[in-house]
Amino acid sequence: MLSVLLSAASQGLLWALVAFGVFITYRILDFADLTTDGTVAFGGATCALLITVGADPLLATFAATVMGCLAGLLTGVLATKARIPAILSGILVQLALYSINLRVMDNKSNLALLRKPTVFRAVADLLGVSNAVSELIVGLFAVVLCGTLLWLFLRTEKGLAIRATGGNPRMIRASGVNTDSTTILALMIANALIGLGGSLLAQQQGYSDVQMGVGAIVIGLASVVIGEVLFGRKSLLRSLIAVALGSIVYRCVIALIMLAPFFNNGDLKILTAAIVGLALWIPRLKRPGGKQKMLYGGRKD
């Protein structure tokens, strides 16, 4: 039981990176970015390919992050320069990424990393700890580092402009900000985090799969919503911590449910959908007639 929860927690930490990405697009930018699913698999595929051809796992992880960033760039350009609706832009890139991911993995639907070096193994060897502990350490390190950088960035002048782009694009344009640029930048940062998450997930599970990103946006959303319901969103920092914790809670809940003999792996998606649906519904039940606003921080009006 404890080992199940520990493994769920380290999974949750890695997925928290994806959740950060979803938080940026869905919450801050108010842009439902469906690139997410493709980017997770893209990060995994890029990383797996590089590791199998002998690249350093750290370099492979970095490359996956850059690739995620480029996927976000493409979605951003489609949404702003081509003026394609946000959701459709994301769907187009996600669809394109499916083919690209197959190409990256040499037209195979998965690519194994058996007995190949990974960042987890490297850290395990370096510190002389087990793989399970190494996964926790790496996950925690990545989440704290990315979360802190994100928090600092969102408080800079540029960060404020990005948040205002989601909150009131017209106002921030009148303040001299090119909202096309801020939208693209936010999508690049979000998808870089998601690509990073995908690459670490592939290394952790020991293979990359073209399907590994299916439902990633919903999982990310689940983490955001669960985190906010349980831990609040009074400030930006609080929201970021809540998202990371939400991701861990989500994984633990799923792990516990899966212990029941009735469920099998195929049921994961419907359980996820049910959890997100409920988590979005519950806050409304608490405030009858209350309008749920896509805000973090402050009071809802």
Partner: protein, 268 residues
Amino acid sequence: MAEKMLELKGVTLVFQPGTVNEKLALFELFLDVAPGEWVTVIGGNGAGKTTLLNVVSGVCLPQSGRVLLDGEDVTAKKEYQRAKDIGRVFQDPLMGTAPNMTVEENLAMAKIRGEKRSSFRTGVKRADSAAFEEALAGLGLGLETRKKTAVGALSGGQRQALTLLMAALKRPKLLLLDEHTAALDPRTAEKVMEETESIVRKHQLTTLMITHNMRDALRYGDRLIMMERGRIALDISGEEKRQMTVEKLLARFEQESGSRVVNDKLVL
């Protein structure tokens, strides 16, 4: 500084040209505004008042004609490229502020209007804190103690007063006010107008103010223009403006538009 802060030279703007919905919004419009001059703009619905402000701020690009701001031709510049020189307050109090961000964050964004935004400098700077507090206190709405409150939690009047403050925070070459008190209750509207007067006069801002309220149009500003069908139908200033009354203005208005004014919002 150029002799004229704003020049519109034969500006024509047609919405949806070549369709059945074609609408002539501005027609060969000429307007010169001197530095520090405060112009109030009145006119019926569809006369082109808001379009005029949109052309000046770069929201709409005209089909022909030129827009000069402080001597510089800005006709082809986009809204965000002109922003460093233009402060704007909209009719809708929700329009001018970001609701998901705090009062001080909104002010911090306005403080660097039109400047390049750094990815490394902190947005809300400690050095600005005192100045922000003083400016907020000047509004007399108690906002100076609510710097960390999300703007979405403020009332419409508070948000509009904040927007006004933000528009003038980095002194603009041109202040555009688009019926900025129309959505407020009478007392708050009065208060925001007083604040407008004090800010415009203190910084000697060149101002274009659209209003539906003829009394405000006469009481405030140095010059009054009335728009009709995309052109300026009446342009008075100085003694002529001081002698003008709401009744006479109304008569001119009806004469120009060729119909009786039934909307008593105009008279109030």
